[in-house]
């Protein structure tokens, strides 16, 4: 029954199997931090800090817990409380609690590192461990999908000849004309929640991660299908990514409630906005790249100055999670949508609502393309609106399950949508005719049949 599972083996995002080479000093970042994250963080992190000890940063793990002893002390195995507990023979005090002991080679790594002076080999001892461990090489995707995964993100290539969809540890690239598989891009986080193509079409930003474990933004070279940068690693999924219209910046929203803005191509972090109190689920830039809109599970949508990060306005009209945002073409208003099954249009100047559009189910990410606004909904519909007037132009039918993502290619006038059931449909925006329908899961239809 678990043939695929065994093929993929243990897909924990950090590869903790490799151990340090004997004559090189043990690296805290590479060798130890992944163990702490995997085995200790659940009980000794921000949610639970058993024994007053947290291991989510170097600084914390070397601080005293309730025992009065620091987790690690250079050259002192006796007082290094963490070492003492992981190597204890007494099961009642050995860590990790209620689990098997760490393998002997891992314990040996800790021992050697303490004896080598317990040095921190990162830049910032206060940084979250998750942000300092080296970016992992992700496992191979399944050769053939036993189940199709929800397609939470789709995007057309610059020329409209490729449609990229999120997969399992991969991106799959399809021919939008006939639904045939063109190529597969590997080394992607477990699930892809957002895709954004740079304005020149050369870079593809992928918001991906493993629920509850890892979130990262991987920037791929579109032509080569190779990772160029890994940005903004966090402990839970990245939920939206958006290149600025100028292509000089990339905004990232994640389940840690933070919006991060990175400079492109350097990848250096320009801004970190922590205004939301829950997941940031949607991001959008205005046309000149001066403002950034966001939607969050904290039931608000917000607009920020994209240079300073200053909060310009908060919109609380949804009363439910906000899952999609887009700027009105004239840039004075914002569209936002979410669990309340509506798109709201409201003014940036005073957050006053000026219009709303109702759906039969919750509404996901909004996509603005020129004069058109697109939305996908749990009512299985994909809809096209005249962005200026929010007048509905067309509703694209055919999805058999929730329509959870939508993309539009202006030149070829193609609309693509990903469904919860893994199905991708492509329509001609001019007449609403369905062009292609396929499961974006290689091998799935064969396996399923």
């Amino acid at each position: 029954m678990y043939r695929i599972s065994s093929l993929l083996a243990f897909s924990l995002s950090f590869s903790i199997a490799f151990s340090a080479i004997a004559d090189e000093p043990v690296s805290f970042r590479k060798d130890l931090a992944p163990i702490l994250l995997d085995k200790c963080l659940a009980c000794h992190g921000p949610k639970k800090a058993e024994g007053g000890l947290r291991v989510d940063s170097f600084e914390r793990v070397t601080k005293e817990g309730d025992s009065g002893s620091p987790g690690f002390v250079a050259n002192d195995l006796e007082t290094s409380e963490v070492f003492r507990r992981i190597s204890s023979a007494d099961e009642s005090e050995r860590m990790p609690a209620e689990s098997d002991a760490l393998p002997a080679d891992q314990i040996a790594l800790f021992k050697r590192w303490i004896e080598e002076g317990a040095k921190f080999d990162g830049d910032n001892p206060a940084a979250d461990l998750i942000t300092i461990v080296p970016a992992p090489v992700h496992p191979e995707p399944p050769a053939a999908y036993r189940y199709a995964m929800p397609i939470a993100a789709v995007v057309f290539s610059h020329d409209g000849k490729e449609l990229i969809a999120g997969g399992y540890h991969e991106l799959t690239v399809w021919n939008p004309a006939d639904g045939t598989l063109i190529r597969r891009i590997k080394n992607v986080g477990q699930r892809t929640r957002a895709l954004s193509l740079s304005p020149d079409g050369t870079l593809l930003a992928v918001g991906c991660g493993a629920p509850g474990r890892l979130g990262e933004t991987r920037v791929f070279d579109m032509a080569k299908g190779e990772v160029v940068k890994v940005l903004g690693t966090t402990s839970d999924e990245v939920l939206d990514v958006a290149f600025s219209p100028q292509g000089d910046r990339l905004a990232v929203g994640a389940a840690d409630g933070t919006i991060r803005v990175f400079e492109i191509p350097s990848g250096s972090e320009q801004l970190s906005i922590t205004s939301h109190s829950d997941w940031v689920m949607a991001l959008a830039w205005n046309a000149d790249g001066t403002k950034l809109a966001s939607g969050s599970r904290d039931k608000t949508a917000k607009v920020f100055d994209s240079k300073t990060g200053e909060l310009l306005v908060t919109y609380s009209g949804h009363g439910e999670a906000v899952k999609g945002v887009a700027f009105h073409p004239e840039n004075n208003d914002v569209f936002s949508a979410g669990t309340d099954k509506k798109i709201h249009r409201w003014k940036i100047s005073d957050a006053a609502k000026t219009a709303e559009v109702a759906f039969g189910g919750e509404v996901f990410k909004l996509s603005l393309s020129g004069e058109f606004l697109f939305a996908s909904s749990a009512d299985k519909s994909v809809r096209q609106f005249e962005a200026n007037t929010q007048k509905q132009l067309r509703s694209f039918a055919g999805q058999q399950d929730w329509a959870i993502s939508v993309a539009y290619h202006a030149e070829t006038k193609r609309v693509a949508s990903g469904g919860f059931d893994g199905n991708v449909r492509i329509w001609n925006a001019e007449d609403g005719a369905e062009i292609a329908s396929f499961f974006a899961a290689p091998g799935y239809e064969t396996v399923a049949k």
């Binding site: 599972s5 963080l41 949610k47 477990q190």
Partner: protein, 937 residues
């Protein structure tokens, strides 16, 4: 007011939540006694035949041994199980597991006895998916994920919301499968699903470790995910019944103290599945027994416990009794006065508790007065009763008290709490009318069925028919459902308004089905102040908010009422309620009466009847209720029967063989007097009555129509309810610091002790001797004469006052002497002292231009004068004469002041005997502070 209401409701909720989050109990949490198999006459294996028709099926076997002495014990842990064909089925301990289609036998051997059970195995070649509802949701319930304090709370936890105890599979389907793009499950790598990683604590989880990979629930959830998170098909077989084996009634005697349960789900097609692993277990009394996650009941102490078994929306229970030998225990065949004693004794004998002796006449007279009419017997009443030598004097006294007007008034207070009689609810006039209606009903001993019917079907003007106020206090349909179910059905139904009751069989459908009886009640205010007109509309239906379904009126036990198009649906309800065979009605009231007389219900709290809160003596409650029905719902009859029982008349003093008992009525349990009883008692002891606003001066606290007519600080502190809810729990019996302060030095007691016309001052005025006064006070407060020791100590206290007086006077003399000396010193040295200390006085005195002065100590005065003139003359332009005058005046004032002080001190000196009254205040204060006074005992 709103806040207080919230508080009570939240409090109740919190208790439920706490009970819900207790972790799973595992067998290795307990030390189990080895089973002493002995020589059973026969063994019985359950189930008698096993069918395992699917790869996921299994069967928990239970083996019971029956012995020659009539005893029974669970031998499952000791038995050996063997399959005659391991290719057909195998055994994991006492659980049979299928292997391949076919049939074989399961042989059980224990204690030299054997049994054989046929086992049929089928459908092993076909896949059997995990059911969403009966597998996954049951597993989540098992681990407590959807408990009220966790993800089952209305807003969920950490963004993850499940329906409480899986009552709403639609919502759970959305949350588990679709929400957040399927983030919680991973069908490609099931073990990597967040739904498993979180409770396993492989990723941080606010709720902590809630699941182990070895738990049956783990496999169920993992497999369900691995199969692609499939929903149940429409043709999914439904569970129609949950069976618990063994059923209620098992009695285990130490060393036997464990009982393996087998839980079978019966499906709509007649098939049966073992759900022992996924059922959720709770014990009604954790001190008596616990239940492990695997359904092993572990007895800890003697007593009875109901094991509550929950699986999906089904709740069943099984009562298990645990007994053990108590060294030195011998049943002493105490006399029985009536059927009550027989039922109580049967339980006591079974559990090996020995009832206490009968209480003294003095204890009885106090106890029965307080319970029947709410007030203390007077000194004369106690004396008359004590002097009576008739053998049936207790029964006679009971009969007399039941006919006193105070009986109706006092029991109206109890019903006033339940009916929420307040002037806020029913208006200033309404409250008196409603109160009088209840009082008359009780005084006339209106049969309880009629009483309920008149309230429930009341219509018309609330002035002309005060019972109609019932629908003014129950302000809307929901309030009606909750009030009526709590008062007349003993069920707290509030939970079911929003979701199926988490611990009871009441469902949301039941709630709205009951509502359909009452939603047509209309309330209209008339132009007259405080008058509401109650009438019933002939249309209007109730919609279940979750399903949107229109509800038929529904009756517990009877189901939907099909013929509901009648003039007044309330009549249908009242007909059902007051039927003699109604399973709730008589029991609830009989139990409530019992709780009023014992301070504890047979079901306790008395308005919380549910499987998970079983009666401590079911037979007793049954016979009480039967007697109540047979008497024609005669409440006085039941009260009389209880009061005449030996059980009621037991001493409060426990013996060696019942001191651990608090719920089987082996002895009388002392309890603090209620707020109103206490206030009346203080008034009676001190003979200083309390007046309540403009109410007649004869009104006692126990006879107040409503708590909000006159707010009384003392009553509030001692737990007088505001009557905002129908919950008996609103009357608090918790003790608090405020109470201690009231009795230590509160204004109420202080003023009554100081009152010029109180009991002991009257007696003093009548020239009574100390001993007589002390005896009288004891009779008034604790309804008996003082013991010799008490009397001696009290007299000693009074005489010690004279010694205190002598000491006090001596101290005063010393003080006076010191002051006189000080004056003399001033006179000698006043020039210095005056100049330093009284300069201000002097200069002011100078300004007022004193013209005359008396000279003291001429010579020195001249010197001072000279000095002052030199010092002040120039700057202040005063003459020597003026300084002289000022000086004299100042000195004189000091001397005069001191003289006044001395005179006052002298006045405080006391004559011998003058503090007798103070001593008596002390005595009375001390009596009011004894537990004997404060407690009903």
């Amino acid at each position: 007011m709103k806040m207080a209401l919230q508080g009570i409701r939240t409090g109740a909720f919190a208790v439920v939540a706490w009970a819900a989050i207790g972790g799973l109990t595992r067998a290795d949490d307990f030390t189990l006694e080895p089973i002493q198999v002995g020589a059973p006459q026969r063994i019985e294996v359950f189930p008698p035949a096993v069918t395992l028709a699917g790869v996921r099926e299994q069967m928990q076997m239970v083996v019971t041994g029956y012995y020659a002495d009539g005893s029974v014990q669970d031998l499952t842990r000791a038995a050996e199980f063997a399959s005659t064909n391991a290719e057909v089925f195998t055994l994991d301990g006492s659980v049979a597991l299928p292997k391949a289609d076919g049939s074989a036998d399961l042989n059980v051997t224990v204690g030299g006895t054997e049994a054989s059970i046929p086992v049929q195995v089928a459908n092993q070649a076909a896949p059997q998916g995990v059911s969403f509802e009966y597998g996954t949701l049951a597993a989540l319930s098992k681990q407590g994920c959807n408990a009220g304090a966790c993800h089952g709370s209305p807003s969920g936890k950490g963004g993850f919301r499940l329906s409480l105890r899986a009552f709403d599979p639609e919502l759970d389907k959305l949350t588990l499968i679709h929400e957040d793009f399927g983030r919680r499950t991973n069908s490609l790598e099931p073990a990597e699903s967040l739904l498993l990683l979180k409770p396993l604590m492989k990723v941080p989880h606010g709720g902590g470790l809630k699941l182990h990979a070895r738990d049956p629930a783990y496999e169920v959830i993992r497999d369900w995910i691995a199969e692609g998170c499939q929903l149940d098909p429409p043709e999914q077989l439904r569970v129609v019944k949950l069976q618990v084996y063994p059923p209620s009634g098992r009695l285990l005697k130490r060393p036997a103290h464990t009982q393996q349960l087998a839980i079978l789900a019966h499906y709509s097609d007649g098939s049966v599945r073992d759900v022992t692993e996924l059922a959720v277990y709770t014990s009604s009394d954790e001190a008596v027994a616990s239940v492990t996650e695997g359904g092993l009941v572990v007895g800890k102490d003697r007593g009875e416990a109901a094991v509550i078994v929950r699986y999906k929306e089904f709740i069943e229970s099984s009562f298990v009794t645990f007994v053990r030998d108590i060294e030195g225990f011998a049943w002493n065949n105490p006399p029985t006065n009536n059927y009550i004693d027989e039922a109580v004794d049967a339980k006591l004998q079974q559990l090996k508790f020995l009832p206490s002796d009968v209480c003294t006449d003095e204890e009885f007279v106090r106890r029965v007065y307080l319970d029947v009419i709410g007030i203390l017997p007077t000194v004369e009443e106690v004396r008359t009763y004590s002097a009576d030598t008739a053998s049936d004097k207790r029964a006679k006294l009971i009969d007399q008290l039941l006919e006193r007007p105070e009986f109706a008034k006092f029991w109206t207070l109890k019903w006033g709490d339940l009916l929420r009689l307040t002037s806020k609810q029913v208006g200033g006039d309404g409250v008196y009318k409603y109160h009088r209606w209840v009082e008359r009903a009780i005084a006339a001993n209106m049969p309880y069925d009629q009483f309920a019917r008149e309230l429930l079907t009341a219509s018309g003007s609330s002035h002309l028919n005060p019972a109609a106020n019932f629908y003014r206090t129950a302000t809307d349909t929901n309030d009606c459902v909750e009030t009526i179910s709590q008062v007349f059905l003993g069920a707290r139904l509030q939970c079911a308004k929003c979701h199926n009751h988490p611990f009871e069989r009441w469902t949301q459908d039941n709630y709205y089905g009951m509502a359909a009886f009452f939603n047509r009640v209309q309330r209209q205010n008339t132009p007259k102040p405080d008058e509401t007109f109650i009438w019933v509309s002939n249309k209007g239906e109730v919609t279940q908010p979750r399903t949107g379904k229109q509800m038929k009126p529904w009756l517990p036990g009877d189901g939907d009422v099909e013929q509901a198009e009648v003039d007044d649906r309330r009549v249908l309800f009242a007909d059902w309620l007051t039927r003699p065979d109604n399973p709730f009605f008589a029991k609830i009231e009989a139990n409530r009466i019992w709780s009023h007389l014992f301070g504890r219900g047979i079901v306790d709290p008395p308005d919380d009847f549910r499987d998970s809160n079983p009666p401590s003596n079911a037979a007793l409650l049954e016979s009480l209720a039967a007697d109540f029905v047979k008497s024609g719902f005669d409440r006085k009859h039941v009260i009389r029967a209880i009061l005449n029982s030996r059980t009621y008349q037991s001493s409060f003093e426990p013996n060696d063989f019942n001191k651990d008992d608090a719920k089987y009525f082996s002895h009388y349990q002392p309890r603090l007097l209620s707020a109103e009883q206490l206030l009346d008692a203080i008034c009676d002891v001190t003979a200083v009555p309390e007046t309540f606003g403009s109410l007649p001066t004869t009104t006692r606290a126990t006879q107040l129509p409503a708590p909000d007519l006159v707010k009384h600080e003392f009553l509030k502190i001692f737990g007088q309810p505001e009557r905002q809810t129908v919950c008996q729990c609103e009357r608090s019996s918790e003790s608090n610091l405020g109470m201690a302060i009231q009795f230590f030095n509160g204004p109420l007691i202080y003023n009554k002790l100081r009152d010029g016309n109180n009991r002991f001052r009257q007696l003093l005025n009548q020239q009574k001797q100390d001993q007589e006064i002390i005896t009288e006070l004891h009779f008034a407060a604790v309804n008996r004469p003082p013991t010799e020791k008490e009397l001696a100590a009290t007299l000693n206290h009074i005489s010690s006052k004279d010694e205190q007086i002598a000491q006090h006077n001596a101290e005063t003399d010393t003080k006076v002497a010191a002051m006189n000396k000080a004056v003399a010193d001033i006179r000698k040295t006043f020039e210095v002292k005056l100049f330093d200390a009284k300069l201000q006085t002097i200069t002011e005195a100078i300004r007022v231009d004193a013209k005359t002065a008396l000279a003291t100590e001429e010579g020195k005065r001249d010197e001072v004068q000279k000095y002052l003139v030199a010092k002040l003359g120039a700057s202040l332009a005063v003459s020597a004469e003026e300084v002289t005058a000022a000086l004299d005046e100042a000195a004189q004032k000091i001397v005069a002041d001191t003289a006044t002080q001395i005179a006052e001190l002298e006045k405080l000196k006391q004559a011998p005997g003058s503090r007798r009254i103070e001593a008596l205040e002390d005595v009375c204060w001390a009596l009011l502070n004894t537990n004997e006074f404060l407690f009903q005992h």
